[in-house]
Every structure is written in structure tokens, then in C-alpha cells.
Amino acid sequence: MTAESEQKGQSEQIGRIENGIVIDHLPPKVVWEVARMLRVYESSNGRVSLGDNYGSQKLGRKSFIKIEGKSLSAYELNLVALFAPEATISFIENGAVARKQVAAIPPQLEGIIKCANLGCVSNSPVEKVVPRIYYSREKNLFTCHYCCYPFKRDEMRIVDT
């Protein structure tokens, strides 16, 4: 067994769940941001496992999240694509994969990411505006509803929770 496949086996065993959601093939280091964005610790009595920097045949290095006893909507799970377009999302029932979802960034994001224009009214601490951002898959570009400022993924910031 190579070191890579040994690690792959480890990632499958760690936090193994009977019923829940596995978000796999996240790039290394983003796991914490994804967990924060999905608020995986809120209203959940089940186990939550985060793994970072594991070996992956697909990505070289990867991270993953396993969540037990908390349901997430298709919209919420699609938000994973903000950080990881290659992510795989599996719904586990009775220890087996019941179905999968391919994450795709939703065309409208409400209260998820901030406008990259610091002068935008939605970034003002006085105004307390919930940011509304549109995503164009065709242009791979975000645009602010309020100031129309367009920005790319590398300028993206998640709203404070």
C-alpha cells in the first residue's frame, strides 16, 4: 500500500458516519472556511469531522467534512462550490452512499459573501445591509447588486458570522 492510498483509506475511516453528509475533495486549507460558511456546528447533535491535508489521487492533497444529524439544503451545499468546484457531496444512509450532488455556485448569493468594493454601502458597518451578490457562470464573475462592482473568486470574502 502506498502512502497516498494509505491516507485515502484513513480519510474514509475517520469520522465514518451512518447517516449524514460527506463533503469530499475540498482543496487543502479551505475546510475551515467551508465549515464556517455552512455553520456545521449549529443545531447539530451529531458528530462533525474535519480533515485537512490528506493525500488524494484526484487533487494531490485534499480536505473533507463529515456531518452527522444535520440537514443542509441543496442551496447551502451548492455554496461549497465557492471554494471547491471539484468537491463531491455524498448523502449517506445506513452507512452507504444513497445519492450525490454536484456543487454549483448559485446565481444569487444573499448574505454569504461580501462585495469586494470596500466603498460599497453593503460593507458599511453603519448601514448593516445584507450583501446580495450575483454570479455569472458564463463569465465566472461575481457582481454586487448594489454597486455593480464585478469581482473574481480570489477577491471573495465570506460574511462574518
Binding site: C115, N117, G119, C120, V121, S122, S124, V126, E127, K128, V129, C144, H145, Y146, C147, C148, Y149, P150, F151
Partner: protein, 322 residues
Amino acid sequence: MDNLQKRFLGRDVISIRDFSREELDFLFETAGLVESRKADYAHSLEGAVLAPWFFEKSSRTNTSFQLAMHSLGGQCINFNVDTSSVGKGENLKDNARMLQGYNPDFAVIRHPKDGSARLFADLIDAPVINAGDGKNEHPTQAMLDLYSMRKAFGRIEGLKVAMAGDLKYGRTVHSLALALQKYCNCEALFISPESLRMPAHIRDELSSNSFNFSELGVEDLGKSLGEVDMIYMTRVQRERFPEGADGDELYRKVTSQYTLKKSMLEGAKLRNHFVIMHPQPKVDEIEPSVDETPFAYYYEQEKNGVPVRAALLHLIGGGKKK
């Protein structure tokens, strides 16, 4: 009512992007009528109320909107940010909700934050007109600029326009550049200090729409005059610079870098009908002696704010003409 007129009814004016070339031309034709046949429009918006909601200083925009509303038989209410609850820390959303409760027919907003006009429009039923949102846009200024160009040159198509000065923080040049790209064969020269270049996202948008533009440093201001039909000067927007000593230093550095001088005009081989425009107020970026030359068009330009804004209000409000 024809189809173009219907498109204006009740609409917000937030970004110049939202207006097609056809709609802008229709607005300018209406502005021409409003200007030449004032009496026909004198009762257009009788009984209607406009709320000029200015959170930043304004001379021309505020005054011309109020004059435009009065010329159509409408009224304006008074709002003074210095004596309002904004000084007590009230946010824009609460302020907008208050105005919504008073149910005006139009709200004209100017605010220091980018995107504030869209926020306001989301909260108010009446049509909202952006009179300048931070460093973002000033769409009605671009409308009056285009109208002025039509009057000065008889056309907009094919004109080459230099925009000089603070292109980073100047919202008028953002709206004007986005408006010019709607007209065939127009071209722009952006002349600015390196630190005040036209923002990348606007340059990208212009490029993606195949709009022809180039960029020059302020040292090329004089020699660029012979290459263009019009130069649009702008002042440095001190109020948009960072606060504190760093902002002061940057401001001092860039303000000393460019001034349009009479000697530059005398030394250039200017195109026929060459004019100088400026959204005003001007400070030191145009030498006072230039005001007396036949090229200074900015005093004519500022007059055009009234008919253009009156035409816009008339069309949005579904006004009746005699």
C-alpha cells in the same frame, strides 16, 4: 403613448448601463422639446412632489433637479442632512423607510457610499434617481454631458473624447465612459496620474464591449489636445481619498500634476469645434484664463442640466404636455 415613452414610466435611474442608446436618444429629443417649448410642459407634473435627498454637498445637481421639477409644475420638499437625524447616527435604510412613509412621487438621492442609490430604490416605491453614489456613478450627469455633446457637435457618434484628471474616484467619468460606448465609433483617451487611473473593472467592461480607448499620463495633457474633439476635465475628489496624513499627502501630490492652461490651447493644432467640458465644480485644474476662450463649454454644459432632468422627470412621471 409610444413604446419608448412607456419604457421610462416609473423607472429608477441608478446606472447609465440600464439605458439603451435608443432610450438616451429619445430622452435627448424630449429634452430639446422641453427646452424649446417650455409652456407645453409647464403643467406636466402638476401636484407631483420630488424629494431631493442629498447626503453630500451639491450645487448644480440639486438646484437643477429642483428647477426642472418647478418648470413642470411640480413641487420639491426640503431635506437638509446637517439638521436631519442622520447626524444622530440614523442609517440609510431607516431614513429611506421614513421617506417611503411620506410617499413622494420621485426621490433623488446623493450619498457617499457606492451602491446607496440601489439600496434606496429597493426600499422606496417611488422612482429613485441616482444623483451620485460615492465614487460609483452619476448617470444624469452623463445624460446632460451627452446632450451637451449633441448640441456642441450635432452628433455623438464618431467623437474622440479625452477625459482628464481624477478618473479613479470621479463618478461622472465612470458614467460618461459607460455611456459613450453605446455610440458608434466613439473613442476615449483617459489622461490621469498613475494613482488615479480609470478603475480596472470599468476598463475591462469597455474592452469586453470592444470600445476603443487608450491611456496617457498627465504629462501628455497638452499634446493630446490636438488629437480629440473634446476634453472633459475633472477635479481631484479630495473627499474620496483616504482620511488622514497619507490621504493629504497623496492629494497634494496629484493636484499639482495637471492643469489645463491657455498656453496649451494656443500651442496645439486643435480640431474644428474643439470644446472643453467639466462636470463642475472646477477648482485648479483649469486655468481661469481658459474660461474666456471660445473652447470653454462648461458654462453652457451646466445649463443643460435643467432641460435634461426635466425631460427625465416628465418621462418617468408620465407627464402630460399641452
